[in-house]
């Protein structure tokens, strides 16, 4: 298929006003905040050696923290802060999306601005400083009429660097709930939609380049004392910001549906959003959210609904190490969720549990049917899992229940695990029971006869604000109990198909057609 006739380009383009607008807004806010903090600090620090050293080291340390980690750290920090203000002053704020993204990115922008402002001010010749004093300027007049104007070109170079960094790093704010051009990249990576990945990278790079060039115009204008050029650059930036502000005025959705970072979540979130739209509401998806982020976002009403898994909540949110039979666990979960005003609307019908998976032929050859059978062979085998499995209680529980011990353990991007198992690169993987790739690669799920892994029923959760929302519940209820494991596996397989029919929206429509007939 011709790369450019792929219908997914059109779909990507349709998201552009939303993603680009949010991206520019969060970048501009972060840069503005970064400048507002860095400039006075740099000016205050220029003649104070200790403060200056401390500031530059601190900013350098911040810079060494990977962007994704910095963004991720701000979420729990703000969450704790919001809880504090709520209990002390009676008001909280949303620790989701915009605010943590702006704060983390602003921090990230500080180093080049601080460094260049200090360097620029240092570069002003002592003879000029003495002249300023000698003609009768106060220190303040000297700063504003002589030192800052002379340092401006160097400062602008720092601001340019900061702008490019912020725009680039803003793509990583998707997992903490800030829509950005990163949505293309995260969604694309999860659903193997390379058109989206490419589109997101191109859009972010183009934006960064455009802003860099406009700021270069301002910088050169200042350097050559060419007002026209400087103003042209400034007007360009202002126009860019204004254009991205326009669509945001118009849009506001009735409902926001969340999705975690994997394919199935993208499909289910698209499905719920479609049902809401079919019922006459406007609905948007907030995709690519981390497991904890999404739960907290629901709790604080930043999203209205999403699909989680009973075992995940049981273990992650309520820190329970003990397992329960399926029904009992659901009942208990419903009760503890209700205490946090969260509604467990019901189960979708399938479960997506961790499971040990291996090639069917090899399992048959070795006579392995269950994990208990596997235990004897494990010391000669390697096990691959996603990034969190080995630190999760399920793994501890499996080891304890079956005395499992593998020759080697590896971590992998989940989408590549199944192929690795099929090709024999690893012997066993910790896969997900609803993954379509299990059937595709002719793999088999090993039976957990001792119930070491808790049940993972897919359940729909509603935010406190939507507890009594009959319209929302009516729109989602037709999905409950209708999606069996075979449907979900096929949907997941389709979504990983890598063609025009594989977008989450298209797969969600297919899934609805299939279950709607029942």
């Amino acid at each position: 298929m011709n790369l450019f006739s792929d219908p997914r380009w059109g779909e990507a383009l349709a998201h552009l006003p939303d993603y680009l607008g949010n991206h520019v807004r969060v970048s501009v806010a972060a840069l503005a905040l970064g400048l507002a903090v860095s400039l006075p600090l740099a000016i205050a620090a220029r003649n104070r050696r200790v403060m200056r050293g401390a500031l530059l080291s601190l900013a350098s340390i911040v810079q060494t923290v990977p962007g994704l980690a910095l963004l991720a750290l701000f979420y729990p920090l703000l969450l704790a802060l919001a809880a504090l203000t709520l209990s002390w002053f009676g008001f909280g704020f949303s620790a989701f999306g915009f605010l943590p993204a702006v704060l983390a990115l602003a921090l990230y922008s500080m180093l080049p601005v601080l460094r260049n402002t200090i360097t620029g001010l240092d570069g002003v010749e002592p003879a000029i400083l003495e002249a300023a004093k000698g003609v009768g300027m106060t220190p303040r007049q000297s700063l504003f009429t002589v030192e800052l104007p002379l340092a401006l070109p160097v400062m602008m170079a720092g601001i340019r660097t900061a702008a490019v960094w912020v725009i680039g790093t803003a793509t990583l704010s998707t997992p903490i709930g800030q829509t950005s051009l990163g949505n293309y990249i995260f969604a694309g990576l999860q659903t193997q939609n390379w058109v989206f990945v490419l589109f997101g990278c191109l859009a972010a790079a183009t934006l960064a380049l455009a802003v860099d060039q406009l700021l270069a115009l301002v910088e050169n204008g200042l350097r050559q004392r060419n007002r026209l050029r400087a103003m042209l650059g400034g007007a360009g930036i202002a126009a860019l910001v204004a254009v991205t502000l326009v669509p945001s005025m118009a849009r506001s959705s009735n409902y926001v549906v969340g999705a975690k970072t994997f394919t199935e979540q993208y499909v289910l979130s698209a499905l719920i959003a479609q049902r809401l739209r079919a019922a006459g509401f406007s609905a948007t998806s907030r995709e690519g959210l981390g497991s904890n982020v999404i739960f907290e976002a629901l709790k604080s009403n930043d999203i209205d609904a999403y699909v989680d898994y009973s075992g995940t909540l049981w273990v992650n949110q309520f820190h329970r190490g003990d397992s329960r039979p399926r029904e009992q666990l659901l009942d208990e979960l419903k009760a503890v969720l209700a205490k946090q005003d969260i509604t467990l609307l019901g189960e979708l019908g399938f479960a997506n549990a961790y499971a040990l998976v291996m090639p069917k032929k090899r399992a048959e050859a070795l006579g392995i049917h269950s994990i208990a059978d596997l235990a004897a062979h494990a010391p000669t085998m390697s096990l691959a899992a996603d990034y969190e499995f080995f630190s999760r209680p399920e793994w501890a529980s499996l080891q304890k229940a079956y005395g499992l011990s593998f020759r080697a353990q590896r971590q992998m991007q989940p989408d590549f695990m199944y192929a690795a198992a099929a090709s024999g690169e690893v012997d066993v993987i910790a896969g997900y029971t609803s993954d379509g790739l299990i059937a595709k690669y002719d793999l088999v799920v090993l039976e957990d006869s001792r119930h070491a892994i808790p049940p993972y029923d897919a359940i729909v959760l509603l935010s406190p604000r939507r507890a009594d929302d009959q319209a929302l519940q009516a729109a989602i209820k037709p999905l409950l109990g209708k999606i069996d494991i075979a449907d979900m596996r096929e949907a997941n397989l389709r979504a990983a198909g890598g063609d025009g029919a594989s977008s989450p929206d298209a797969v969600a429509r297919w899934l609805w057609e299939k279950i709607g007939k029942r």
């Binding site: 003495e130 000698g134 003609v135 009768g136």
Partner: protein, 266 residues
């Protein structure tokens, strides 16, 4: 010779931190000196003689450790330093012009700080450009980088005179210029000094320049005053260093006289 001193230094001392455990460097050591109104005083000395420090103490660019400096009868320490600097003209070594401001903005900087109206400043800038013999139309809007060294120093002089000071302090103003420009600028300034009834303190390392321009010359070495007087009085000094300073230009003049017989262009 005019009567009441306009500037008086009484037992003025200043030392600087030598850095890293080194002893303090004494820059100015117990200097007493008076400058009469209307006088053109030249302070001559080599590098490290303390002449620049003494000049900078005058308008409080740095503060004296000991002694008193009085201007128009008032101790400079009793005056706000910013106000003091605004009413004393200061010509910096190689101009000290603000590179991001036009000639007109450089010249008008002190009047502007004093709150003079834009129209008045503009008129004053024109006057001053005439006074320092720069073409109004041609130079007004140029940036300092587009000027020659001599033109820059003329702008520096114009800037120092902009707020109608009675006193002008000059820090080796003509040191970096070629000999012809230097001579022309020196003569022009001396004429301005007379015309505007200024009181000028100029520091220089060049005894010839001092003798040719100043009413009175002071010689400094190692922070102390070695000798002072009119050029004629100085030549009566028995100090060997002063003698050396005076003999050198004379010897040069004599050698030049011998090497360049008169006639032709010379």
């Amino acid at each position: 010779m005019p009567t009441a001193p306009l500037i008086a230094y009484a037992h003025v001392g200043k030392s600087f931190d030598g850095g890293r455990g080194a002893e303090r460097v004494i820059a100015v050591d117990d200097v007493s000196l008076e400058v009469a109104e209307g006088e053109f005083l030249a302070i001559v000395g080599g590098s490290g003689s303390g002449k620049t420090t003494l000049l900078r103490l005058t308008n409080r660019l740095i503060e004296a450790d000991t002694g008193h400096i009085t201007i128009e009868g008032a101790d400079v320490r009793a005056v706000d330093p910013v106000q003091l600097r605004r009413r004393i003209g200061y010509v910096f070594q190689s101009g000290g012009l603000f590179p991001h401001l036009s000639v007109a903005d450089n010249i008008g900087v002190t009047p502007k700080l004093l709150g003079t109206s834009a129209a008045e400043i503009s008129a004053r800038v024109g006057e001053l450009l005439d006074l320092v013999r720069l073409d109004r139309a041609q130079h007004r809007d140029r940036l300092p980088e587009a000027l020659s060294g001599g033109q820059r120093q003329r702008v520096g002089v114009a800037r120092a005179l902009a707020a109608h000071p009675r006193i002008v302090l000059m820090d080796e103003p003509f040191g970096a210029l070629d000999p012809l420009t230097r001579d022309a600028l020196g003569d022009d300034y001396r004429a301005l000094h007379n015309k505007l009834k200024l009181t000028t303190v100029m520091i220089t390392h060049d005894m010839t320049e001092a003798i040719l321009l100043a009413d009175r010359v002071v010689v400094m070495r190692g922070g102390r005053l070695l000798a002072e007087g009119t050029p004629a009085e100085l030549s009566a000094s028995y100090d060997p260093y002063v003698g050396e300073l005076l003999r050198t230009p004379r010897r040069q003049a004599e050698r030049l006289g011998a090497l360049l017989p008169r006639g032709g262009a010379a």
